[in-house]
Symmetry: C2
Subunit: 117 residues, 2 copies
DNA sequence: TCAGTAGTTCAATGACCACTGAACTAGTGG
DNA sequence: CCACTAGTTCAGTGGTCATTGAACTACTGA
């Protein structure tokens, strides 16, 4: 398998990183990786109920946003947050996201009235 | 004109806020508002080259993500970052975004010769 | 009343996104 | 060689997004 491309973080804009983080499933994945360090992909999305192909999609988005790095060992893919690089490029951002990704931050409590338009 | 709806920040998820911030134009708007405090909408998007309707769209996204508050005085709409509320709800996040929204964060930079990695 | 200003709403367009299931690739171990 | 496991790629679907231009609302000042 071809080594997937990992962008130079210097080339990644803040907006792109935020876009990568702006999905509840991906936030959950990031949080898990932050807690576990390098880990098998299956571990990251096991409790998320994502299908294989959907998980693969989200991993790709995160990789292309510069948020994680993937490596292969044997039969399995491993994923690692590019935590140090992110902290160097966007100081305080990852810390804030991790600190605020707890309960109540990824899921809304109430659908909201959506009373307009 | 009907008062627009401003969501309770307690109901807004981190993913939604990140989504609101994940566009270069909106990041720019947020940065401008952070620097200027309450200000006329026209000031916020004047140097962005956004059309009126497009700017109105982005203001609505930011409002619905809980990022800003809009008020009307006379003929003009004013926009204010909900900075204190955001800092209370997602500590460190707004600070990190503002601090990293400078040059090179919203727009891809030139590759740069001192290539690393 | 009338023109001008400020901004919203609407319909439409093209792009992209999340998600699915099926087909595919690649490594592991019998 | 064969099945098994782990994950990717592909085509397609429905939904949302950014953007535009035109029509509309609402306030202001002459």
């Amino acid at each position: 398998m071809l080594e997937p491309h990992h962008p130079d973080l210097g080339q990644v804009s803040l907006a792109e990183v935020l876009r990568g983080l702006s999905d509840p499933a991906r936030l959950h994945m990031v949080k898990t990786m932050y807690a576990l360090g390098e880990c098998e992909c299956s571990l990251v999305y096991a409790d998320l109920g994502l299908s294989k192909s959907n998980a693969s999609h989200h991993f790709r988005v995160l990789r292309e946003s510069g948020i994680l790095r993937r490596t292969q060992r044997g039969n399995q893919q491993y994923a690692t947050l590019r935590a140090d690089e992110l902290k160097a490029r966007f100081p305080g951002l990852l810390e804030a996201v991790i600190a605020n990704s707890g309960a109540g931050s990824g899921v809304r409590a109430d659908p909201g009235p959506s009373g307009e338009r």
